[in-house]
């Protein structure tokens, strides 16, 4: 099971998910496509340039693989201070 976390505006769309990833999900891009089909409004938010995705608490601009044991977090624009 993969754990999907949603922060900021993403938290308006879904609570934390524990999901068995389908075989079609192998990386961040395919995970986002999968979630876009499952969660209304997700695709628009995921497409924003200020959206960040972490896999096991690491954010990279590059594509990375995702697996069922991973924790993936979707984050809308950050705003501290």
């Amino acid at each position: 099971m993969a754990t999907i976390l949603f922060f900021g505006r993403f938290s308006d769309l879904s609570d934390r998910l524990e999901v068995q990833l389908p075989e079609t999900v192998t990386d961040k891009q395919s995970l986002s496509a999968f979630l876009s089909g499952e969660i209304e409004g997700f695709a628009e938010l995921a497409a924003r340039s200020d959206t960040r995705i972490s896999v096991n608490m690491k954010v990279t601009m590059a594509e990375v693989a995702v697996r069922n044991e991973d924790e993936i977090a979707y984050m809308s624009a950050l705003s501290g201070g």
Binding site: F7, G8, R9, M57, A73, M75, L78, S79, G80, G81
Partner: protein
């Protein structure tokens, strides 16, 4: 020291303890960010990604320590619901001389504004809405790239 907390920050006591622990510091700069009363906002609610947020901030401290010669760094950040006037963040830096402490404190606040995993909602007229960084926040951060 880095601390993300859901209880109120007492900046004066925190700064006194920070200063007491650094008797050799010739300069201590600090910044306190508070919930601003703009006549509309009733409350501010911040959330974070436990574990990840602290790790990201620790990275800022590493970077600031490479760039400036610091004797100590303090970052306290609130999460949860805050009322008008309540402190949201306290940043303090200590160095031998003032310029390094000023600049490092300024840099850390710019990083916290744009790059720290916090999310902010304000309550206005009973409704909540997300707050995102302003273009000025990014301009401020970009000053350090040159």
């Amino acid at each position: 020291m880095i601390r993300v907390c859901d209880s109120p920050i007492a900046p004066e006591a925190e700064l006194a303890a920070f200063r007491a622990a650094l008797p050799n510091a010739g300069a201590i700069a600090s910044f306190i960010g508070c919930v601003r009363d703009d006549g509309q906002t009733q409350a501010l609610t911040l959330s974070h990604y436990p574990g990840f947020t602290e790790t990201v901030i620790a990275g800022f401290v590493e970077q600031v320590s490479e760039r400036w010669n610091l004797l100590g760094t303090l970052i306290l950040h609130r999460v949860g619901k805050m009322s008008l006037g309540e402190p949201i963040v306290l940043v303090a830096t200590a160095s031998a001389h003032r310029r390094e402490a000023f600049e490092a404190c300024d840099y850390l606040m710019d990083r916290l504004k744009c790059d720290a995993p916090f999310w902010k909602q304000e309550t206005v007229a009973g409704e909540t809405r997300w707050i995102e960084p302003h273009p000025q926040d990014h301009s401020d951060l970009n000053r350090w790239s040159s």
